[in-house]
Amino acid sequence: MEAPFPGTVNAACGNFNEEMRTVADTHAEEPTRRDFLYVATGSMAAVGAAFAVWPLIDQMNPDASVLALASAEFDLSNIPVGQEVTVKWRGKPIFIRHRTEEEIAAADAVNVASLPDPQSDDERVRPGPSGELSREWLVLIGVCTHLGCVPLAYRGEYEGYFCPCHGSVFDTSGRIRRGPAPLNLEVPPYEFLSDTRILIG
């Protein structure tokens, strides 16, 4: 090609740079009204762009219909001692475990300070309708705090939970004892409506 374009383009760029330099020269002396207007216009455009982008980002957050399912009631009367049911809340499994005396004792007998995420068993149960701690009921979010797998109940060396994905072991209070998970299984916000009904969320 006889290169008709590159030359032309360079010439144009040259002129453009000349002009830029003229503008830059005025900068060197003292800011002018025009400089102020440039900066103010630019800032307004940036703020406007940020406002325009926000809805596009926020639309990805949980919507009203998802948030509407944020709390749910569950009946405990069908769960015998020594058994556990899994229910679904906010798309996640919730373990409701009717603990035996031995399980409660085992959870109590631990030296709290020696745990990776120190929490006493008392901190992991909630008061029943009478105001006393309802220690027979353990309610947990059944999501491993490592990478979100669902642990298996009554497995692992503490007979609590065992995560099949990466081998985390939890005790009968859902506390992390061994393995890669950094934190105890989370206790969801819940309260007793009566002796046999709880409200999660």
Binding site: M60, P62, G91, P93
Partner: protein, 432 residues
Amino acid sequence: MSGQSTYTPSNGFTRWLDSRLPVMRLVNDSFVDYPTPRNLNYWWTFGGILTFCLAVQIVTGIVLAMHYVPTTELAFASVEHIMRDVNYGWLIRYVHANGASMFFIAVYIHMFRGLYYGSYKAPREVLWILGVLIYLLMMATAFFGYVLPWGQMSFWGATVITNLFGAIPLVGESLRTWLWGGFAVGDPTLNRFFSLHYLFPFLIAGVVILHVWALHVSGQGNPAGIEVKDPKKDTVAFTPYATMKDAFGLAVFMILFAYFVFFNPNALGEPDNYIVANPLSTPAHIVPEWYLLPFYAILRAVTFDIGPIDSKLGGVIAMFGAIAILFVLPWLDTSKVRSARFRPLYRQFFWIFVLVCLGLGYCGGAMPDDILIPVGDGGMTVTHLSQILTAYYFLHFLVVFPVLGLIEKPEPLPESIAASVLHGTRQEKATS
């Protein structure tokens, strides 16, 4: 190396068009008369093969989207509907699913080619960086796509990967909820992954255009790793020479592709993904697709805290770091010689690195606690091996590349591309 345009419009219409939109001239100068180093070997056909893979994925993907339903209720069933009811649906889906694997086979060969022949060195740094960007986009696209059939691996793969973002301090939790659009992987997640899975291939196509542009500014590298000196002697026209060679390479590649599609369509997938997603039950063994296994091994290799960084965040940093380090490779390699042909030490380290990557791939697919070499009660587990290989992976970039360039005595380079072809590289080395 773009050189002078040799395009001459042949008739009235093309003359008219050329002065308004010189698209024929662009095609001619880029893919017909474009001067190509005459010593390119078959490892250089993978650029064309990758373009083919992208086109196949886009075409089959657009068609599959006409039948697929991105809701948790219907996704799995709609994929089965494609397999059983839609005319040729089985073929289109198997081509798309295996096409992803073929795409990654080709991209890995293409990348290792680049590593062996030093394709990332000046003046091709931007070309390389764009390539790494394409690779990143490919991994994201493949991940989104793998979620869509809504099988057990889809769901739990999505859960594990999105949970990685929860490891980021301060913003991790809200970032994860934002990605999910809920409190777990669910309907909103599936829907947006479908939208992004449709978008990303076009982003890839955009970056591919930049990649080819950068390639045509600096010119193609070549096995000798030296620049074109005399285009008349050192290069041949892209068409027919490179086009034909690419076409033959592509035909051979398509045999492999067809083998998987027609004779072993599920060999590269996980049987668990034919079980519909169940948020209440995790499969015993979660693994990503084969092409992500080395990175999964690196993620799991960090089982210990490093100062204030806990093992979870450490694993995430190591995994993303393993990809990010590729971006700065052009500045880590201190050797002026491009091709490993003339770098006796690097040649060996290159193959060690290939083996390390394959080893990481093996570790990523194995159970972390499996014992490889029994010693007494325990022994060396898969995790131990991943840790050794992960350490080597990073040492290769951070130590081997910088040091090798300083201590290695390269073999003499051929005088020119033409000389390397006409006299053979070995003889050339002996005479010079």
